[in-house]
């Protein structure tokens, strides 16, 4: 029986395993050193905040794996011998495979800062990071978070629940403004500040200073300001976790290079999820996409290929979501932080500054390109259809009601959005 081995038990590896099992009888082994069972990485924060316990992070009960004949192995793969199709574990054991799927995920960035190895400096990506954070915040009063992105804001929210004062260093002008239009970024920055986080925009880390015992004492910014703290959260992005595969025949740039069938340059070796870099970026997507959904979709796709239904990885319209303290964010289609040529942004903001949206459209054809919605839930399916049908911005704005996904009885804002759009553009919609 063909033996499919998957390195990595994250969303991409597990999705692949589940779908392969659905469609075939092949032997499946999933290897990970991080945790016994698949857990939701996106929910690490909730354990620290006491919303959930570790067991709640596991989307499947522990009996699920045996019942579905998915073998789990808790091992660290030290090296892969592609010629002999053999994996070598740090325990000195080894395992053979017929087909290999690399789903090794990401690790957090360190940019070679002075003091980045001090005790109390850490990222937040793995289960071990979470345990370390618990350790590092035992007697912590003040923390500095580096990097204004999705993980940074989660870490800020986490630390506040333990009454730790947080200073947030953000290189840009506003929170996540490499992705969000400035107007969105400003409002999110404002909201984060209103929770008691001190944000320092346009501020970069220069170095981290330690004490005699090797603990963090403070950080120094590029402008020379010193900020005392006992914890430094490194949240300036992640990169593919591929170091153990370098210096082999496997082609790697920043991530493992794959073609549109998620195949690497080596026969019978595939790669999916965060660790992947597309040789040919798909549409306007980045070549490395470290999000939950793309990992899942790659898993769904590669499973088809491996069970005799060869498919290209061809994701549909872009979508994503996040939550910044109390403000939920969803996006469908493309809204870039700075409109590209012949694109325009339409903004609407509710007076409470907690509900707002930005719609991007083409100024020449009036085609709707994408939406960022904050504090108002929208229907994925509706926007997916509108994007496929290439609806005009006028159509979308006048049909916005159909896309609303807020709970029943919630106040609705379509009329106000419609009015503002009409006033600004004086187009008849």
């Amino acid at each position: 029986m063909e033996h499919i081995v998957i390195i990595g038990n994250g969303i991409s590896g597990i999705t692949a395993a589940r779908h392969i099992r659905k469609n075939s009888d092949k032997r499946i082994t999933v290897i990970s050193a991080e945790s016994e069972h698949f857990f939701s990485r996106t929910a690490l924060m909730y354990v620290y905040m006491g919303h959930m316990k570790w067991e709640h992070l596991k989307p499947y009960e522990d009996w699920f794996w045996e019942k579905n004949r998915i073998e789990l192995k808790k091992e660290w793969v030290e090296s892969v011998d592609f010629d002999n199709k053999t994996l070598h574990f740090s325990s000195k054991q080894s395992m053979n495979y017929d087909k290999l799927i690399l789903a090794t995920g990401s690790i957090h960035n360190k940019f070679g800062w002075e003091g980045q190895e001090l005790k109390g400096v850490q990222g937040l990506v793995t289960k071990q990071d979470l345990e370390l954070l618990e350790e590092n915040t035992k007697n912590c009063k003040k923390a500095v978070i580096i990097g204004g992105g999705l993980i940074g804001v989660e870490l800020a929210e986490m630390l506040l629940t333990r009454n730790i004062q947080v200073t947030f260093l953000i290189r840009e002008e506003g929170f996540w403004s490499g992705i969000l239009p400035q107007k969105n970024a400003d409002l999110i920055s404002k909201h984060i500040t209103s929770h008691g986080v001190e944000i320092k925009h346009r501020t970069e880390l220069d170095k981290i200073v330690g004490d005699k015992e090797g603990n963090v004492r403070s950080i120094v910014t590029k402008t020379g300001e010193e900020i005392e703290c006992e914890l430094v959260g490194l949240c300036a992005g992640v990169h593919p976790n591929v170091d153990f595969l370098r210096n082999t025949a496997l082609e790697i740039d920043k991530g493992i290079l794959v073609n549109s069938f998620l195949q690497t340059n080596i026969k019978d070796v595939y790669a999916i999820g965060d660790c992947v870099q597309q040789r040919q970026p798909i549409g306007q997507r980045k070549s490395i996409e470290a999000v939950w959904y793309t990992g899942r979709m790659m898993g769904e796709t590669v499973a088809q290929t491996l069970t005799g239904n060869k498919r290209e990885y061809n994701p549909g319209h872009w979508f994503n979501s996040a939550k910044f303290f109390d403000i939920e964010y969803q996006t469908y289609g493309w809204v870039f932080n700075k409109p590209k040529e012949s694109e325009t942004h339409f903004h609407w903001v509710h007076q409470d500054n907690k509900k707002f949206l930005t719609i991007s459209y083409d100024t020449i054809s009036n085609k709707f390109l994408g939406i960022n919605t904050f504090g108002i839930r929208m229907r994925h399916e509706k926007f997916d259809t509108w994007l496929s049908d290439e609806r005009s911005v006028g159509y979308v704005i006048s049909h916005l009601k159909e896309a609303n996904f807020d709970p029943e009885f919630y106040k609705r804002y379509e009329a106000s959005i419609f009015d503002k759009f009409q006033k600004e553009y004086q187009v008849s919609v």
């Binding site: 939701s40 354990v47 989307p59 029943e408």
Partner: protein, 527 residues
């Protein structure tokens, strides 16, 4: 006892000074009740009762204000699994034991509350006389004491709940609704109705929103006799009770799902959603619990149908009395009704029903066989049980032990909806309809789920919501009471409770929205 099993350690979860003060006020109010229970002679009962009940109410409301008023609107679950009260710590066990003790005394040893068989009540019961006299004109009973405390709990903790979820209009409205139904229908109206009673006219105590089979005693002989002898009003109430079962309930459940009752109207649900809210995450989510749930709750349905049939049968006459509704007519009627329901389901809903069909068939067969047994063994004794013995056994086991002692007493250990989930026959019947003939569902928002688990954790009915959401599948579960909390806590806006057409309500998907459109079509169609 379960200790903190999260991989992270404990955090200090101390109370602020206003929270402590509020707790003190509330407990002081309770303490007055304890003193009254110990037969302390209060000089002016009206004043002391008012002080006590106000202190309890004010304490709870003040506590809520201190907890939520100065925080941003939004989800407030910080530290839930760290606190001794909400993580099955020592506080949870203490409150569980005290509550359970209270229920045991209430149901089985009311004399300790001051009930005196012949003569005037004493202790806690007599302490409530001023309020009872004000409302119904008569002295208090242990049930009046219980009803008053129950109503206060729903009102005060209802305010707490509204504060906590003030950003969520669905939660606010639903809570105002249960607060209203409890206060008006369960508490005040029956007391006022009691004022109408005289020597020649008497209505049974009726809470109009309490429907059979939750109200399993509604068709007991003494009640039906009272209804009938009370003339038009009585007959109207009796007919309303029957219409509630066969007309009102099915229509509302078809349109809105069982939530119209379980989380907008019902008193048990009302207490669970308000006072029980801090314990909702303690429900057991394992698949094994779901299996047990289905067996237990459906057995209760079978039990209550049989018991009620036996009770009604026992007091109906035979054809010699000349009245059309005889024992035989009644039995045949019940059998026909069950057969009709069973046939309809099998004809129209076999696919949705799948494996459950077997259980349905077993339940149905059990009832029909028992009915036949009634008939042939006839007389008052069924399998050597007297119908009223069966009735009192049900009352003891299900009505008291299950719904009260376990259902409410164990809130801090098993969660707030144990009774609703495992025991309530009303919920089971509504759920059966919700699964098969209702427009209600929880819609999943395409591919947006990140499998975080908040929804499953905070589902008080122990539904593994995530299992559906992460597959892009709508949630159509008979036990869902439509509390809306899963949708509220979801950080990605994935869930929406809604009523929509029956078509495509139950959808299972191979590949989720967001992936290749062709693949999506290909695989999802193939299923």
């Amino acid at each position: 006892m379960e200790n903190n099993m999260s991989i992270t350690g404990d955090v200090p979860a101390s109370l602020s000074i206003p929270q402590k003060a509020a707790t003190f006020v509330g407990i002081a109010g309770l303490f007055i009740l304890v003193l009254a229970g110990l037969n302390t002679n209060f000089p002016n009962k009206t004043v002391w009762l008012s002080i006590s009940l106000s202190a309890i109410t004010v304490g709870i409301i003040w506590f809520s204000k201190a907890t939520y008023a100065n925080k941003h609107e939004g989800i407030k679950n910080d530290g839930v699994w760290f606190k001794a009260i909400s993580n099955r710590g020592y506080l949870a066990w203490i409150s569980g034991i005290l509550l359970t003790g209270f229920y045991i005394v209430l149901y089985f040893y009311p004399e300790y509350l001051g009930l005196v068989e012949k003569g005037d009540n004493t202790g806690l019961i007599v302490f409530f006389d001023p309020l009872s006299k004000l409302l119904s004109g008569g002295p208090a009973s242990q049930w009046f004491v219980y009803g008053t405390l129950y109503t206060i709990a729903i009102l005060a903790f209802g305010i707490k709940f509204i504060w906590k979820y003030r950003h969520n209009r669905y939660e606010r409205l639903r809570t105002i609704s249960v607060m209203f139904f409890q206060t008006a229908f369960a508490f005040l109206i029956p007391e006022f109705m009691a004022r109408l009673n005289s020597d020649s006219f008497s209505l049974p105590y009726s809470d109009l929103k309490s429907i059979w089979p939750l109200n399993y005693y509604n068709f007991d002989q003494y009640r039906v006799d009272e209804y009938i002898s009370a003339g038009n009003i009585g007959i109207a109430l009796l007919l309303f009770g029957i219409a509630s079962i066969f007309i009102i309930t099915p229509i509302l459940t078809y349109k809105y799902g069982k939530r119209w009752y379980c989380s907008w109207v019902c008193g048990c649900g009302g207490l669970a959603e308000t006072a029980g809210d801090p314990f909702r995450h303690l429900s057991d989510k394992r698949q094994s619990a779901w299996k047990i749930e289905r067996w237990v709750v459906h057995s209760v349905v079978v039990f209550v149908v049989l018991m009620t049939t036996a009770v009604v049968y026992s007091y109906l006459g035979d054809s010699s009395k000349g009245y059309w509704l005889t024992r035989d007519v009644f039995l045949i009627g019940v059998a026909l009704l069950l057969t009709a329901i069973f046939t309809l389901v099998m004809v129209f809903k076999r696919n949705e029903f799948k494996k459950d069909a077997r259980y349905g068939a077993i339940g149905y067969m059990a009832i029909i066989l028992a009915l036949i047994a009634f008939h042939y063994l006839s007389g008052k004794n069924l399998f050597l049980f007297d119908a009223y013995q069966l009735r009192s056994f049900y009352g003891f086991l299900i009505g008291s032990i299950f719904s009260g002692v376990i259902g409410t007493g164990f809130y801090p250990i098993f969660g707030n909806r144990v009774w609703c989930r495992f025991g309530c026959p009303m919920a089971a019947i509504l759920g059966f309809q919700q699964r098969l003939f209702s427009k209600f569902r929880i819609t999943t928002n395409g591919g947006q789920c990140i499998s975080c688990g908040n929804c499953s954790t905070y589902c008080e009915m122990g539904i593994d919501v995530r299992a559906y959401a992460q597959k892009g599948e709508n949630i159509v579960r008979s036990s869902c009471v439509g509390c809306g909390i899963c949708a509220a806590v979801c950080p990605r806006g994935v869930l929406k409770l809604e009523n929509d057409s029956m078509k495509g309500r139950i959808n299972s998907k191979e590949v989720l929205l967001g992936n290749d459109v062709d693949l999506l079509d290909l695989l999802n169609q193939k299923q």
